[in-house]
């Protein structure tokens, strides 16, 4: 026991100078962790008596130039837009403007590009788990396992909408959102357009697709053309029914509203990215008495669609639509993978609540990307 006490005493005596050293003013320059090698992290802890600072960087001739002077006793600054693999010298001058006391610190660091962004480790783990689950269920689907997928009434009603348009001899209107092809919502909308076009070809119902973007128009033309060919009705395909209106948001809305009022489509589909125009479009459609289906990934527009449309695809339903309609076992398997993702999120949310209650800040910190 005595020996243990003496060891502890010696350790404390030995650590004392280190502990007092930690309180000394410090300045450090180091490569910014987990970046592309274009930044250096500068950290300092100054004497509390100081009230001003000047952070300087040496140029190629070794002359220092100030680039930062916002004072804080303990702080950090990231010097960005640097060259990869170069060495940089820094100087920090802190001073007390009243007494004239000053201290000078120097530091240098070399930038280095990293092979992995550790701040995204949590994202990689989550993504890997969700992707693995999706691939696993795709594999099960391919093997022929019967997977239960809940019903999505908005998609089940597609036949009803097309049937109604056919009975009334009126066209179907399909708006693939207002975003460009670079938006996954537009891709999801085109994925739904394909089976819709195929059915409209089978029923012999006219399909109108006004587009806001020329790229979307080109892709939509290709999609509809292929679908008509698949339905064995290439003769029924009319290129002029998939057309460009305007790039302007409200110019496009005016155009689509005009089409709804003049052509009186019996079924309207608004699928893709929508913003402030969502209600203007769907209320006009409601006024014409069309059966309306809408879907978007924009949470702020969903209430407008819910109120004014007969069916609304909420959140993931828009992205799941094509797989759901196709009834392809592989694609249905991927939808089961989504469910696993939801379960994972629920577990993590609950675990996060418990961790925060217990004061385990590292859990939240890890998922925030600060590992």
């Amino acid at each position: 026991m005595k020996r243990l006490l003496s060891v502890v005493f010696l350790l404390l005596v030995g650590l004392y100078p280190l502990m007092t050293l930690a309180a000394e003013p410090v300045f450090s320059a180091s490569d910014m962790p987990w970046d592309d090698g274009t930044a250096i992290l500068l950290k300092w802890e100054l004497d509390p008596k100081m009230d001003s600072l000047s952070l300087q960087k040496a140029d190629s001739l070794g002359v220092f130039h100030e680039f930062f002077n916002e004072f804080s006793t303990q702080g950090q600054h990231v010097d960005t837009s640097l060259e990869i693999g170069d060495s940089y010298k820094y100087r920090l001058i802190s001073y007390n403007s009243a007494t004239g006391d000053s201290s000078v610190f120097t530091g240098s660091a070399t930038t280095k590009a990293q092979w992995f962004d550790m701040n995204k480790l949590s994202l990689l783990i989550m993504l890997s788990l969700v992707c693995a689950a999706i691939l696993y269920y795709i594999y099960l689907g391919r093997k022929g396992k019967d997977l239960f997928i809940r019903r999505i009434s908005g998609l089940d009603s597609m036949d009803e909408a097309i049937g109604r348009a056919t009975e009334k001899g009126k066209p179907i209107l399909f708006v693939p959102g207002l975003s460009d092809l670079g938006d996954i919502q537009t891709i999801a909308a085109l994925n739904i357009l394909s089976p819709l076009a195929q059915k409209s070809a089978e029923y012999g119902t006219e399909l109108l697709v006004p587009c806001r973007s020329s790229m979307v128009m080109s892709a939509a033309r290709e999609t509809v053309k292929e679908a008509y060919m698949k339905a064995g009705r290439p003769d029924a395909y009319r290129e002029e029914n998939i057309f460009y209106l305007s790039d302007d948001q409200f110019g496009f809305v005016a155009g689509v509203d005009g089409i709804m009022l003049r052509e009186q489509p019996a079924a309207n589909f608004f699928l893709g990215a929508f913003w402030a125009e969502s209600l203007i479009l769907t209320e006009t459609g409601f006024g014409t008495g069309a059966i309306q289906t809408a879907g978007t990934g924009q949470p702020h527009q969903l209430p407008f669609f819910v109120v004014s449309c007969d069916y609304t695809l909420i959140g993931e339903e828009l992205y799941a639509a094509s797989a759901y309609i196709s009834r392809d076992p592989q694609q249905l398997g991927s939808l089961k993978g989504h469910d696993f993702g939801k379960l994972l999120v629920i577990i993590l949310v609950l675990a996060g609540v418990v961790a925060e209650i217990l004061g385990w800040g590292w859990f939240k910190h890890f998922f925030e990307g600060g590992s």
């Binding site: 990869i84 999706i134 394909s194 057309f243 110019g251 209320e283 109120v307 959140g315 993931e316």
Partner: protein, 232 residues
């Protein structure tokens, strides 16, 4: 071949962008910016396709004297007018074929393109946007008709939030003692917006994000081919 090439391109591009999201060093950032540049270039060419489609459609309708053909004619005239004045005198600081058009600017107070944009296009756009106010009223009326427990709940919540966002709310409930301040309409509104509303929106966002992961994976792996016209 026609089907396989796009699938291979989609697979490689998707994979590179996905990996690049986790690897900050070169060449991934350069590849990503190059792909974005390619997209912009293709978009530029596609604009011509769009204009061609617009002109073809409108000219055909005018030529065949289809119903409402004067509207299509006015569309064509507007298109031509903006194109001509833009080409001749340019817009804002950009000069046109006839330079900055000082004489015209002196007469109109702005370049013809900017003059038409400010005095015709912007008011027309604003008119379309302002329709939203009336549509919100009609949609809200339908949504708030009390039919079920849910619509009742929706109406009560909407009334609290709408009132809570006005100065009238303070007038109505400002007398409530500090001890029960959470019952004041502005506080209730903040609570609804900050907790139940944010929670619901986040749930939708999370489910949409999972949907995006699934859809992207299907496209990258070539399981989802509908955007290419469907089929195997």
């Amino acid at each position: 071949m026609k089907r396989n090439v796009p699938l291979v391109v989609a697979f490689i591009s998707g994979l590179v962008i996905l990996i690049g999201g986790f690897i900050p060093r070169e060449p991934f950032p350069s590849i990503e910016s190059t792909l974005i540049d390619w997209f912009m270039i293709i978009s530029g060419f596609a604009i011509l396709l769009g204009q061609a489609s617009l002109l073809h459609l409108n000219i055909t309708r005018v030529k065949n004297k289809m119903p409402n053909w004067p509207y299509y004619l006015s569309g064509l005239i507007s298109f031509a007018l903006m194109l001509i004045v833009g080409l001749l005198w340019g817009m804002e600081q950009t000069p046109g074929l006839l330079g900055q058009g000082e004489g015209v600017v002196k007469f109109l107070g702005a370049k013809p393109f900017d003059y038409l944009f400010t005095n015709a296009f912007i008011p027309l756009s604003a008119t379309m946007f302002s329709l939203l106010a009336f549509y919100i009223a009609s949609a809200a009326y339908r949504a708030f008709i009390i039919r079920t427990f849910e619509s009742n709940l929706l109406m009560i919540t909407a009334v609290i939030v709408m009132l809570g966002r006005t100065s009238f709310a303070q007038l109505l409930t400002g007398w409530i003692p500090d001890k029960f301040s959470f019952l004041r309409l502005p506080e209730l509104t903040n609570f609804i917006m900050e907790y139940p509303n944010t929670a619901a929106q986040r749930a939708i966002l999370i489910s949409a994000a999972l949907g995006i992961v699934g859809a992207s994976l299907r496209i990258i792996l070539g399981i989802e081919r509908s955007y290419l016209g469907g089929g195997k």
